[in-house]
Symmetry: C2
Subunit: 241 residues, 2 copies
């Protein structure tokens, strides 16, 4: 293969995630530990032997396609949310989804390997993956080579502060309680996601909007924001696709 | 994009590395800190702005194609060298190059960003990358999300022990001294690479062979192995391609 030859490959799997739309997805994995996803291996890769030994690892790398960030034109610079959306950085100095090749890289907790409907599935935790994401590869996380806690990291030296406190209305509390059977821990997940301030980084929009909604599993989570406090007003059940 | 649609992309760059053949490449990045490579951005991605801000990071992820591991047939299990080459593991539980999509992932030290011949280049250290490797993406290493030193890692809990001691013959010492101008630290690099025991993991071959050669830059490094001691017998200068 010559370096300038196009590279083509076939997704080995597909993500089923609590994040049904881009809005609200944590900006890196691990920021919402209760965010769960299933990785379904697709034929011809749906062979249980291909995962043999993986259960000994606590974390895996998921290499995936930012399938909702495909567009014809690439730009050499982007505006990372970490810098308030106002400063431009080189696209290769960011983890932005809009990049020359829309390939994503996330480390996820591996919570289980199971068989369902005759196929092997991985249960993943702490995900930042959109529902329907095509997966190109899964690799075990090897701390001896992958963990560099002392690495220097420019403009993103630490996790974004979870700046917002989150309160629930009585309606929202009741909706979380009703959801407990199907989605245990939904209230905790909503809290983690909203505390991380999923609003767009553009200051203009931040200043003007007060009411927000995001889809989580099959719920439309509605909230308001005032004086740095998120108030979850309701969780509406959406019709399942 | 549907999850089962083939994904096609264009390499953004190409690796120029001290490793001119697969034999001898460290099994993970960082094991030979003096192993250096240059990443050349290819048109139309050879724009200096695309790297703006990257100089603030000490490490980068390189996502690349195992271009010498392309083959038609995939196998669900492989024999990792860590297990002596005798036990099979699921391919997704290993970092083996022969995998459904031959995509590699390496964290490399970022030693510099420079302009050469009108193009931006990255100087990388501690590489395990073959010369000519097509690069699909570069991302900054973010310790707050990527560094999980406590992760549990199955059959590969620690770096492979650098079991072998390395000595140089007078001829080999002299050849390293002559190379010092063009390849400073070549002796140290040879030592790091050979101490990690680059021999194939298959016991049969290990037992029967005593003389080895590997290409490093434009040298044929020749060595023998006896009683756990590597003796570098010579470095022959090869004709440059």
């Amino acid at each position: 293969m010559q370096p300038d030859t196009p590279f083509s490959c076939q997704p080995i799997g597909r993500i089923h995630s609590c994040f049904r739309e881009k809005f609200g997805i944590p900006r890196q994995p691990g920021l919402a530990p209760d965010a769960q996803a299933l990785l379904e291996l697709l034929p011809p890769y749906d062979r249980a032997e291909a995962l043999s030994g993986l259960e000994g690892f606590s974390h895996v790398w998921v290499i995936f396609v930012f399938h909702q960030a495909l567009r014809g034109q690439w730009r050499p610079t982007v505006r990372p949310p970490r810098l308030g959306g106002s400063r431009r950085m080189g696209v290769f100095a960011t983890r932005a989804p809009f990049r020359p090749n829309p390939i994503g890289l996330s480390v996820c907790a591996l919570e289980g390997v199971e068989q369902r409907a005759g196929r092997p599935w991985l249960r993943l935790g702490g995900v930042d993956l959109l529902d329907g994401t095509p997966v190109l590869d899964v690799k075990p996380y090897l701390p001896y080579t992958d963990a560099l806690p002392e690495a220097r990291s420019g403009y993103a030296p630490a996790a974004p502060a979870a700046a917002l406190s989150v309160v629930f209305s009585a309606r929202a509390e009741a909706a979380c309680a009703r959801a407990e059977g199907q989605h245990p821990g939904l209230r905790r997940l909503v809290t983690q996601v909203l505390a991380a301030d999923p609003r767009p980084a553009w200051q203009g929009e931040k200043a003007s909007r007060r009411h927000f909604g995001m889809r989580l599993w099959d719920y439309d989570v509605q909230w308001t924001l005032e004086d740095g406090v998120v108030r979850v007003t309701d969780l509406l059940t959406l019709a399942t696709d």
